[in-house]
């Protein structure tokens, strides 16, 4: 308003006021400082693909692989893969049980993957849990053949339920099931009972034999005279008189646990063994 009214001269109107020039210089400096800061502070690849550092993608992808994948196992272990592909575990990856094996695949001789044989390994999948889907194979680890590693009876690469002699188990199912989960699991029924062929037709008229003396149990569980050890290992050669072997007809391995042995003259003299021990599930209770 004052400019227009006074109108002192054209040069005065054209001249930019000093304070504005100073402000413009300040703004320019600020802008340059901002650009310089942006140049140095914003990472090189930021904004190339989006609001992020594009270099972070290859960085994430460069992480080392530890699980090689089941295809890598097939390169060397074709025999196991063949066995595995027909069994109930065919969709279970090798590394589910054997652990991360990329290091083993890279250096097969020096790095070995784990081979789990511990008793508590298989129940992580097959131990009873009410939340598991119906029909999934489960056992109660506390009563299912306690103390025995699962691989004694089950082949982990192609597992199947172990079979019992059907001629006994067909009728004596409860006993068969109890015995199957006991220390005597690998002892055949005929080791202690002699059943005639007629027993199958007329069971009550032709009952099988039962042991009658302490000495019968003593065949396996008596300590030899003068022996100091209270147990006898499987290597001492416990032979069943009928079959000539400890576990001939089940096809199972001889248990690795030592057989407990007692001094017959001093252990419970007045009693018969089965008055205290149940032979079908002989754990001490």
């Amino acid at each position: 308003m004052s400019d227009r009214s006074s109108d002192p001269g054209g040069d005065k109107r054209r001249r930019v006021p000093q304070q504005v020039t100073r402000l413009l210089v300040l703004f320019a400096l600020f802008g340059i400082a901002l650009l310089a800061a942006r140049h140095y502070l914003v990472p090189a690849t930021f904004g190339q693909m989006g609001h992020y550092r594009a270099a972070a993608i290859p960085q994430n992808a460069a992480q080392p692989v530890k699980y090689a994948g089941r295809e890598a196992c097939a390169d060397c272990h074709q025999d196991v893969i063949e066995l595995h592909s027909s069994g109930r575990h065919q969709f279970v990856g090798c590394e589910t049980c054997h652990g991360p094996a990329a290091a083993h695949a890279a250096n097969p001789t020096e790095v070995k993957p784990r081979v789990p044989r511990e008793r508590d390994f298989c129940p992580r999948c097959h131990g009873y849990d009410p939340s598991r889907p119906t029909g999934f194979a489960q056992i109660e680890p506390a009563s299912h053949n306690p103390g025995q590693p699962c691989v004694t009876c089950h082949m982990p690469h192609a597992p199947a339920p172990p079979t019992l002699p059907a001629s006994c188990g067909a009728c004596h199912g409860e006993i068969a099931r109890t015995k199957a989960a006991s220390r005597h699991a690998t002892v055949p029924c005929t080791r202690c009972h002699e059943a005639s062929e007629q027993h199958k037709q007329a069971p009550r008229a032709n009952p099988p034999t039962k042991p009658t003396t302490r000495e019968f149990c003593g065949q396996c569980h008596a300590r030899a005279a003068g022996a100091s050890s209270g147990v006898r290992g499987p290597e001492s050669g416990v032979k069943s008189p009928e079959a000539g072997g400890a576990t001939p007809d089940t096809g199972h391995r001889t248990p690795d646990i030592a057989i407990p042995q007692i001094d017959m003259s001093r252990h419970g003299q007045r009693f018969l063994c089965w008055q205290c021990h149940y032979p079908h599930s002989p754990e001490v209770r």
Binding site: A56, V65, Y67, C125
Partner: protein, 287 residues
């Protein structure tokens, strides 16, 4: 510029010597003659040396960048892929192998509160309660209530849902978490400031703060594996086939087939996060 500066004192030194040998010649020619034997001794001229250095450095940089690219990418083109996963809770046996494998593969802290994937046990009781328990991959897990009170119970595996509209990506103030062209939400550990906004924002509780680096961490669908053609570690070890991983775009992938033939849901659909992890035949109680 530097070359010329260096040359100047050299010529001054050499000049008198050459003048003694050949007094008739000009100052420029003897200078060149005197200089020429010197490079022959060492084999390389300084200019040449610097030039070669420059070329070598440039070459080394090109090679380094090229090999790094090759190592990480090979012939992988992210834009051609879109990954997804189907979880089938009806198949899950709650063995915890996925959690174990994830921790081993991705070097996740052993703390049970820090998981990239985890398994929840849902228990619907006879008196109408719903109890949710997280499994511990290390120990034996027992249901929290007596079996006589259980009406129905099942396991639900959980992980980052790799949302197409990920809240964690939206809230990150520095752009340290992002969605890749192949649909995976990743964390840039070098750029994360550890402010935990993303941990708060994730409606699925899929994120945690790594106490060693003080940065956010989460499931990456094992990005280092899937870009090499492998499946994520949890999918590799799942003995029950409860997780199906694959391409969403490819109609022939097992995942696409599963998507076509199953009744599917996503978790918390009302939040409009558009997850790429689908749940087959999910119970309404699962949140």
């Amino acid at each position: 510029m530097e070359e010329r500066k260096d040359e100047a004192p050299g010529s001054r030194l050499q000049a008198p010597e050459s003048r003694l040998q050949a007094p008739g010649s000009g100052p420029q020619a003897p200078n060149q003659e005197a200089r020429s034997p010197k490079p022959e001794d060492t084999g390389v001229d300084r200019r040449e040396f610097l030039q070669k250095c420059g070329v070598a450095a440039a070459l080394a940089w090109v090679v380094r960048v090229a090999t790094a690219e090759a190592e990480q990418r090979a012939d992988y083109k992210a834009a051609e892929h879109l990954y997804g996963m189907v979880v089938d809770p009806a198949k899950c046996i709650g063995c915890g192998r996925c959690m174990e494998a994830c921790k081993a593969e991705n070097d996740v802290p052993a703390d049970p509160g820090m998981c990239r994937t985890w398994v929840e046990r849902y228990i619907l009781t006879t008196d109408g309660q719903t109890i949710v328990q997280s499994l511990d991959e290390r120990g034996p897990n027992k249901p929290a209530v007596d079996e006589t009170r259980i009406l129905r119970t099942f396991f639900v595996p959980k992980l980052c849902n790799q949302c197409a509209k990920a809240p964690c990506v939206q809230v990150c103030p520095v752009g340290a978490t992002f969605t890749t062209p192949d649909g995976v939400v990743l964390v840039d550990k070098d750029y994360c400031i550890g402010c935990r906004y993303c941990i708060q924002a994730c409606p699925y509780g899929a994120r945690y703060l790594d106490p060693r680096t003080r940065t956010a961490d989460k499931c990456t669908f094992c990005y280092h594996r899937i870009t090499k053609g492998l499946v994520p570690a949890c999918v590799e070890v799942c003995p029950a086939g409860a997780r199906i991983f694959g391409e969403l775009k490819d109609r022939n992938s097992p995942l696409a087939r599963y998507l076509r033939f199953s009744m599917l849901q996503v978790l918390k659909p009302h939040l409009n996060t558009e997850p790429k992890v689908y749940y087959a035949n999910l119970d309404g109680e699962v949140r």
